[in-house]
Subunit: 336 residues, 2 copies
Amino acid sequence: MKVSELGEFKLIDLLAEMVSEDQDSDIASWQRLLTGIGEDVAAWSGDPGIQLATVDSFIQDVHFSLDIASWEDIGWRVMAANLSDIAAMGGYPRYALVSLAIPGYTEVADVALLYKGITALARQNDMVIAGGDTNKSPIVAINITVLGSAGRDRFILTRSTARPGELVAVTGDLGSSAAGLKILTKQRKVATNAGSDLIAAFLRPNPRLHEGRLLLDHGVRTAIDISDGLISDLKRICEASRVGARIMIDQVPVNKSVEAIFGEGSMNLALSGGEDFELLFTGDLPTIERVSELLPCKVTVIGEILTAEVGEVTIINNQGNPSYLEEVGWDHFRQS
Amino acid sequence: MKVSELGEFKLIDLLAEMVSEDQDSDIASWQRLLTGIGEDVAAWSGDPGIQLATVDSFIQDVHFSLDIASWEDIGWRVMAANLSDIAAMGGYPRYALVSLAIPGYTEVADVALLYKGITALARQNDMVIAGGDTNKSPIVAINITVLGSAGRDRFILTRSTARPGELVAVTGDLGSSAAGLKILTKQRKVATNAGSDLIAAFLRPNPRLHEGRLLLDHGVRTAIDISDGLISDLKRICEASRVGARIMIDQVPVNKSVEAIFGEGSMNLALSGGEDFELLFTGDLPTIERVSELLPCKVTVIGEILTAEVGEVTIINNQGNPSYLEEVGWDHFRQS
């Protein structure tokens, strides 16, 4: 059945039912919620700590294509992008508002799959889908707002607190998401089944929520998630903190499968591919050593913060010589 | 200059500058805010009262048309729709996240005008634009999330608390917004300058925030804002409260200009036109009498809550006989 046949109100009823069936009523966010998903406003009992709110939009054929991702994948990815922003602050996601714009000819079953992807990640993180809206639109646009609260001690990780002399470190490996996209879109041909881990990295990224909170709890003050690309996101830290930075290109942890498939092109994917949703953070040596031991994932020191020109990120090789890049970052309006 | 020429990051910088220039730094929401608009997540010091969050999407050629509304009008309208939802809970809006999806060929000056409309209403209500995002899109889609907090005593107005025997009342007059739209789209031809108040009601609605808080403070427990239409929104109260209702059609406060221009058709606009953003509420007689005196606007009793079939709204004339309607409500997917 198509959305236009079911009608807006019945669609909302159906989604509300999906959400509540899927809900673990033991979790705190559910118990504090005062309204149902059918209300225009979500209301919950607040707490005096730091409140967080973030929004991400995914537009059809700009941020995603139904040719290469399932509805369920897309739901997961939008939610993951939002949660990664909360992770980069060391916060706890609590509620989500899901705003869907869809053509009337969309299959109701597909909308349900989209919701399934969204709620899977919500449930993993003890969150509640507390509201949203659905609207008719010529193209699919998904807009998710995540409301959260900060870790203990009223602190958050920000991008404006990096200081000269601090080390720059990153969780996990880089380049896999961009590599997965290239394989999915056949820009890179591979043997059947090769690169399935990279495709999964693109379609089902896992935001580093636990890691972000550990960073905050153990002395890190500065972090960002890698959504636009390592260099681009490091520039943002540098601009916000009024510092510069230097990256040692030979230390950058390029994903092994990406290296195997993309060879020389793999470094570019790691530096500017984006959407790895790893955490990029800074700290003094003892702090970085401490969190390297505590975090359940790999942590790699890749550079340092300098008193250079504000926002300047230089890249050096292991001879200490400057190294260059084909492209850095991602601009939604300038690139496609 | 076009958005594609300026680029995403410079556009965000420009909007951030507009927002902060426009900001009254004395207001509490600003002082509690911990982040700038350039961050991916807005963070602020919370409070232990009830927290509110609501989202509204406006899609080009579904919810608005640039043929009949200016960019500034559109910004105002999206914000007003959101604030009306907060008004219907008796809440205080505090922060907004603005998510814009726009084609690259959009003029930067037009985006600035859109923001001007949004920030005008934010400033009127001591709110802060605390974040958002901008994205490339084939059509314009504006998504605003408003975060707020509830009135005193940890209560909110809801739609699920109406009880049989209570009166149904409404603020202001009805039908003006739908009438304004018909005039703007030339579905109704009028003499030059006639209906300008109706056009203003459509383009620049004023959410009843102050009135909603007064209702809550003086004993009303049940309210909804009229966004889909009087009958449609009353049905929502009835469904959520597991009751029915009866409307006395001769008591419905039809706007005088609408009556003058639309004659017999005016009642239909008042009952099902929608987007008047008036408050529809219920209460016992002493409560309704009290708030009628206190509210700065007209309050009209139009019916009562019954133990009828759940969700059933009947309409009677002043002889007590049933009266019928051409259409009720609005379904984004079924109607155009």
